[in-house]
């Protein structure tokens, strides 16, 4: 039977267990592998750095708890980045599952800035159903689509909303998205149509799909998955949950690569074994 035969007959739950351990161990005992900031991430950082101080930025957080490990670090770093540069931030959510989660992140980061006030420096407009229809409707007036904010107050009464009419009030859209509706729809409906420059942070699953938008200039920068979030943290000299996850991520990738190679070796060894 031998080694290859043993591998072939392996119960897949051993693979599950190995995967679990490989991800768990570096979370407890970190290795701190060195990170490198790639060009799409640099584009994201530079787009925000290039904004005139005091601008009002639209941050579209379109995700739900399924994307916490990838998009929450991005949201955190981006929101901190914007507040540090004295930007005003308007947040919207088009995913059912997102509003509570996003509110928690905003709240957590805002506490680091005692001089920033809700409704003056940032606002969470909360959730709205309707996907692309909401995006186009906001083109005629943000408050028309979001008459009340996340807290249930009349959004038109906040000072920050005095500065916001439609998309022309924003020099940049930061889209953090986990799928539909998200970055793709913002590009299709808003980016060109309303001439609003965009950068995006997305889950790794959908990241390759956005490279054509990056090349065409429809997106000014792109954070792809947890690695993108970690690089963003590095570019901002932070070391939060994405950076801490990178060791586990590395080992996980190595293991999957090993699985692909071993799996095929097993197959070849079987086809070369006589009598089959």
């Amino acid at each position: 039977m031998g080694f290859w035969g043993f591998l072939e007959g392996l119960d897949r739950r051993w693979i599950f267990l190995t995967m679990g351990i490989l991800v768990l161990v570096p979370l407890i005992w970190p290795i701190a592998l060195p990170l490198m900031v790639t060009p799409p991430v640099r584009g994201f950082v530079e787009a925000i750095d290039a904004l005139p101080e005091g601008s009002t930025v639209l941050m579209a957080c379109d995700y739900d708890p399924g994307a916490i490990p990838e998009l929450v670090p991005m949201t955190r770093t981006a929101f901190r980045h914007l507040l540090e540069r004295d930007m005003k931030v308007v947040v919207t959510v088009l995913w059912n599952g997102g509003p509570g989660l996003v509110d928690g992140v905003l709240h957590e980061v805002a506490q680091e800035f005692p001089d920033k006030a809700y409704g003056v420096d940032y606002i969470n407009l909360g959730y709205k159903s309707g996907n692309e229809a909401v995006m186009v409707l906001m083109g005629q007036g943000v408050a028309n689509a979001f008459p009340r904010d996340y807290r249930g107050q009349d959004s038109r009464t906040y000072p920050i909303m005095q500065r916001v009419s439609d998309y022309s009030s924003f020099p940049l859209l930061v889209s953090l998205s986990a799928g539909y509706p998200g970055t793709k729809e913002w590009v299709q409906q808003v980016n060109t149509r309303f001439n609003l420059p965009m950068v995006a942070g997305v889950t790794a699953v959908s990241a390759p799909e956005y490279y054509p938008y990056l090349q065409s200039g429809q997106l000014g920068g792109l954070l792809g998955g947890m690695a993108g979030a970690a690089e963003y943290e590095k570019a901002r000299n932070e070391a939060d949950s994405a950076t801490k996850g990178m060791d586990a991520q590395s080992l996980g990738h190595l293991f999957v690569a090993l699985c692909i190679i071993l799996g095929n070796l097993v197959q070849w060894s079987r086809s070369r074994r006589p009598g089959e």
Binding site: I15, D103, G152, I260
Partner: protein, 216 residues
């Protein structure tokens, strides 16, 4: 009437929305804006209907004592409790400190996040048991997958740190993403766009009716 009227409505509204993209005049843009505002509202009703549907289907299942019916009781109770608590708490129901927020934070969010985390395990076993390099195509896929997978995380650069920078896995990964994979993705993107547009045209012309569902 039961089919023609909806088909006619879809055709008129669909065409009107397309026209509104090209015609900014207020006679077109204001009604188009109104239609979008209306769509948002009707979609929201759709979610409420969804909740009612889940309720009905599961009541049925419990009534008929279908397999696993006790679990459906769990489902029903949690559904009704979530709605009732939210209804009582009013429009600030998701604010910190509310019971609905607790349900969201401690029940909905962790379960929703964990469902897909399961896939990390399955992806490893699928890589081992169901990733077969039998053709040139599959070989190309495998090579690209391995390079990208390792090049995207720090360990890739650690492994190839002795090479000049352009040959390190991180740079190779970046090159693959920007050029060959990008060309393929753009072709797919354009093809998909044509598909959506053609479907849109068929719906407006009333020859695509599948969205109206069954007979009568």
């Amino acid at each position: 009437m039961k089919r023609e009227l909806p088909l006619f409505m879809t055709a008129v509204i669909g065409l009107f929305m397309i026209v509104s993209f090209f015609v900014p005049h207020q006679w077109v843009s204001v009604p188009a804006d109104f239609l979008q505002a209306s769509a948002i509202i009707v979609v929201a009703f759709g979610y409420v209907l969804g909740g009612a549907n889940v309720l009905r289907v599961n009541l049925d299942a419990i009534g008929k004592r279908e397999r696993d019916w006790p679990y459906k009781v769990v489902l029903l109770v949690s559904l009704i409790a979530t709605v009732a608590i939210g209804a009582v708490e009013g429009r600030g129901f998701l604010n910190p400190g509310m019971k609905s927020r607790w349900i969201y934070d401690q029940l909905y969010a962790p379960m929703s996040a964990t469902m897909f985390a399961l896939l990390a395990f399955f992806i490893a076993s699928a890589a081992f048991r169901a990733f077969r390099i039998r053709t040139v195509e599959a070989a190309l896929l495998a090579v690209a997958a391995l390079l990208v997978m390792l090049g995207r995380v720090p360990v890739g650069n650690l492994m190839t740190g002795f090479l000049p920078e352009w040959a390190q896995l991180g740079s190779v990964q970046d090159w693959i993403m920007n050029w060959p994979q990008n060309a393929a993705k753009r072709a797919i993107l354009i093809g998909a766009a044509l598909g959506v547009m053609a479907t849109g045209l068929r719906v407006i012309l009333g020859i695509e009716r599948s969205f109206l569902g069954g007979e009568d």
